[in-house]
Amino acid sequence: MFFRMLKKSFLQGKKNKLLAIVTIAFGATLASAVLSVSLDIGDKVNKELKSYGANLIVKPEMEALPLDMPGIKIDPLADQRYISEDELPNIKMIFWRNNILGFVPSLSTSVFIEEQEVKLTGTWFNKKMVIPTGETLRTGAKSIKTWWDVNGNWPADNNEPEALVQQKLAQRLNIANGDKFAVTLTTEQGRKTSQLKVVGIVSTGSNEGGIFVPLNWLQEQLGKDNQVQQVEVSALTTPENALARKAAMDLDSLSSDEFETWYCTAYVDSIAYQIEEAIPGVEAKQLRQVAQSEGKVLSKIQLLMALLTVVALISSILGISNLMTASVLERSKEIGLYKALGANNLPVIYLFMAEALVIGLIGGLVGYGIGFGFAQIIGKSVFSSTIAFKPLVIPIVLLLSTGVGILGTISAMGTIVKLQPAEVLHGR
């Protein structure tokens, strides 16, 4: 009998029920679109923030302090130590290997061009590297230093004498793409002059007075096979929290449980620690300028999205519950008739709740589907990638649509109980 009444109620009040389902579907669409986006936002924004460049720097442990003075000159280090290039794939072998997006090794020296001292840097441009796991990775300045603006071509990563010349220097030397010029290098065997061919002019935005060449070529020229001075690493990291700060103060103060949690969380410091483990004799440090700001900006954006999600949820909750209350009020006549026919309060309430449940389920499912579609549109147009499917969203949305629907009925329960059949049926 109960089911028959439920069925009849849906078949006869088609229009009203459809309206209710549509409203709930709107609310659920909203909730599921915003929830899907905000659950996936961390990774996406993190990737975007990578345009600020590397957030970790790996250098050999050194005895003397380098005498770098920004914007003035670079001290060519006499007793420089080096990292072996063969060790670099190990960076992709650490616990958080999937968070390592790429890295750029470099080796710099001072050279003379027409008696002027110029900084020459050997680096990877877009190097194909095979990792011990068998995977290959393409990495280098092209993908990490996204702000480099190259007019011409990128040099190949081999030992050809091809060069990227920075804009200001190219102007000063009056050279263009395709030109050749001579540089005088200082090696352990004495001075030697080599020819370089300009394949591209690069604008890097600051300290525009240097030359970039393939790492292998420079290693060969300097007789420093397989050696690099530093490696810039770009990694996806988790914003710092209390544990990360405690570890940064004093790693030994962590209990073994805390250490494990710290080690297994992608904090910038724990990634640095793992790189130090993977390559002996190096020091991996976070570039605070990038790493710290990244965490701050990321948590701001996540908070903003979380609040927008809350607004969206409130809005859909109120929308759904308003509708439910309205529909109970509207049907006071019907309730009066049930009561006149001898129904207690309880069965009437059950009937309304069951209706709310059915409406909520259908509306919630439809809304989830549409909302997931909207989330994809957002993902495609903002981040040019799809939003991941998060199973968590489905129960939340269904709970929201049915739960709120039922709550809306309960809030109207008082009205149902108070109803005097005679009054409503009479029409006043």
């Binding site: 909203l30 003397a64 604008s203 701050k296 999205m305 927008l308 109120l318 929308g319 308003n322 549109i377």
Partner: protein, 372 residues
């Protein structure tokens, strides 16, 4: 005149006699209006606020001496910075460098203005205290390890070039991951005195609020011998990130607004549908379609205005909540939001009433009044 008075009376009755239903409609409309006003306020303020947040990435403009020179005079630097609107300038930190000896070690000492550094490079991590007098210094973390000094120690520093020396107390150890880790950092005055370079600096980093184009335009328009250049890495990334965040929030806001409008409209529609009998009764009493539509529109306008006003106020409060918790600052008041919210609320409630009313008007009074 009489007609008008009757119309007003009908309106008044409609609003006051059906309290519970009116409150539901009002609630729905003011909720919609609140969401709209909160989101619009936050959206318009977000660009400026996010831009400030992104300044934690540090300097986006570098001021270097002209190619002929190795130094900038403090006066030159100030005259360049004065050409910037005060509101856009977060700060500018001047630096002077020199090689010093302490014990057996050679290292770089820098002089700077610590209050400016705190503004320009908020990512500096100082263990201990920032120096508050000319006699206290910061030591980079790698330098501290090398020299074997700790916070509280006093060290003697000798400039390599002119053999002047000074004694200072280490108040803190600084860590940045950059070149500062290898340096000793003291106040600008002290360093200028130590290196005998009164009123001179080597380089200055400035943090300016503005997109890449604004900063570039400003640096290009400058008539100065100094080399003033944007730090491309920072300013370009900033533009890109900002663009992404803005379009993300834009889309999310549009979806929330759209679905809120639809939710509110359908709720209001459901409310009107139950008033078929009332419409039928009015028709039976001789009202024509037009006057019924006018009456309902009047009612909806009142509802829309009331709901819109309440919603605007709630929404403004909501926006402040979001502003305070995300950006630690209030969202500014924009009067343009008020008419926009009121108009949306009125349109929302009028549209919600027009659709069902058209249907209700085609009703035969006799059939409906009889009760199906």
């Amino acid at each position: 005149m009489l007609k008008l008075r009757m119309y007003l009376r009908l309106l008044k009755r409609a609003v006051t006699k059906r309290k519970s239903r009116m409150i539901i409609s009002l609630l729905a409309i003011s909720l919609g209006a609140a969401v709209i006003s909160a989101l619009v306020s936050v959206y318009y303020d977000m660009g400026v606020k996010m831009r400030k947040e992104l300044r934690t990435y540090g300097a986006n403009v570098v001021v270097a001496p002209s190619p002929k020179n190795n130094f900038i005079s403090t006066r030159e630097l100030e005259s360049v910075m004065d050409t910037l609107p005060k509101d856009n300038l977060i700060g500018y930190a001047p630096y002077i460098y020199g090689v010093v000896r302490t014990g057996d070690s050679r290292l770089v000492a820098a002089g700077t203005d610590f209050t400016q550094v705190k503004k320009v490079s908020p990512y500096w991590h100082v263990q201990g205290q920032w120096p508050d007098s000319d006699n206290s210094i910061l030591v980079g973390i790698a330098a501290a390890r090398q020299l074997g000094v700790e916070t509280g120690d006093s060290i003697v520093i000798m400039a390599e070039e002119n053999k002047q020396w000074l004694k200072a107390e280490v108040t803190g150890v600084v860590e940045t991951g950059g070149t500062e880790d290898n340096q000793i950092i003291m106040s600008l005055n002290k360093a200028q005195h130590l290196f005998d370079k009164k009123g001179k600096i080597n380089i200055s980093y400035a943090s300016i609020i503005g997109d890449a184009e604004t900063v570039e335009r400003w640096t290009n328009d400058l008539e100065s011998d100094l080399r003033v250049e944007p730090v491309k890495k920072i300013s370009q990334a900033e533009g890109k990130i900002l663009e992404r965040i803005r379009s993300l929030v834009y889309l999310v806001v549009i979806i929330i607004l759209g679905s809120t409008l639809l939710c509110v409209t359908t709720t209001a529609m459901a409310m009107i549908m139950e008033r078929r009998q009332e419409i039928a009764l009015k028709k039976a009493l001789g009202a024509d379609n037009k006057s019924i539509i006018y009456e309902f529109l009047g009612e909806s306008t009142i509802l829309g205005l009331l709901g819109g006003a309440a919603g605007w106020a709630i929404g403004f409060g909501l926006a402040q909540g979001i502003g305070l918790s995300v950006f630690n600052s209030l969202v500014s008041f924009r009067w343009q939001v008020i008419p926009a919210v009121l108009a949306t609320a009125v349109i929302m409630s009028c549209v919600a009433c027009l659709i069902p009313i058209n249907k209700a008007l085609s009703v035969e009074p006799a059939v409906t009044l009889k009760g199906e």
